[in-house]
Point group: C2
Chain length 202, copies 2
């Protein structure tokens, strides 16, 4: 039986936690994130929709000192310290050959054949849908009581080499530090655009 929630708006508390009061953090409290919490995040991310359930994201959670050091070396100057200090930084990558998994991920039709021999369409689909999954990850981490610090200032080729050397068809999309944010580390909230500026009802 399908559960539906028609017309039910989440509580202000829930909306504050994942959207309205959540902030991007640049520094972290000295409190670890457990593997169980990373599993809890994934268990939410995987439920959210991707095109043909392609689930192209491939995630490396850099949590050990060694992995953090290696990742920090691939980041822009301003991001190195953030990565070293964060309890964990997720490397959100994607698999250009995600279509190989479609026979079990999308079993009711031959979706693999839609992508065979068309690498450009796979690259576009993997980039779009792993970005969706990265956004789900940000909101899922917040939903389980953690904070995020997403980043795109890094050398993607260097991260591919450092973390996906055994997976030559995987590419890095963006990074997201996760932990308990230090309230001292946030910037002033940047302005947000009103509906009419970037939206149109047709």
């Amino acid at each position: 039986m399908t559960k539906q929630f028609h017309g039910h708006v989440l509580s202000d508390h829930a909306l504050d936690q994942i959207f309205n009061e959540a902030r991007t953090y640049n520094g972290w409290l000295d409190k670890p994130v457990t593997d169980e919490q990373l599993h809890a995040i994934w268990n939410l991310v995987k439920m959210a929709p991707t095109s043909a359930n392609m689930q192209p994201a491939r995630i490396v959670w850099a949590k050990s000192d060694e992995a953090k050091t290696k990742l920090a070396e691939c980041a822009m100057e301003g991001n190195k310290d953030k990565i070293r200090a964060a309890p964990v930084t997720a490397i959100i990558g994607y698999d250009i050959d995600f279509h190989e998994e479609l026979p079990w991920l999308f079993p009711h039709t031959d979706a693999k054949s839609w992508f065979e021999g068309d690498e450009e369409s796979r690259r576009e689909g993997a980039f779009r849908n792993s970005s969706l999954q990265g956004a789900y990850l940000i909101l899922a981490a917040r939903a389980v009581g953690l904070d995020c610090g997403p980043m795109s200032g890094f050398d993607a080729e260097a991260v591919n080499k450092a973390f996906f050397a055994d997976e030559p068809r995987h590419r890095t999309n963006f990074l997201c530090s996760i932990g308990y944010g230090d309230p001292e580390s946030i910037f002033e909230r940047s302005p947000r655009p009103d509906f009419d500026r970037f939206n149109r009802i047709a």
Copy 2:
């Protein structure tokens, strides 16, 4: 004063509504979506993070019969009826020249200069970050008690021409129908990947 939610996990009800029990719908109950609801969705989407607060998404909400007919003409056969039947379908586009807005969106530094003269990096940033915003839109719509039907089966060039003709620097990313989902219209849930299949803790 920064509001924080450390260690607080959203209620099962909230997690069910936006992640675990929400489904992709292919058909819709005959119940309209109001402009106020579209504003409520945007007011959540705009709060979620984008790189340098670039907010590249440009959204056309196809709600009139005329707009729905025009959009359905640009869609793959299997999506035409869905678009005509949905109360509204969001065209999630992006502005390749989003950097022109950065002086007010990200006022504390000259972020516009990072992107000037580098259209390839703008295309990549706009595509990645408008995809994030599209994912925020899906979860925001669910958070206000609506259902979604995201789609990428359409002719992007045709949608650009039909809806962004006055904005030659805007491009279509993906579509998302929104309304009160008809429980008869969902497919069986596709399998979801366990943590160990697509994640690695390093």
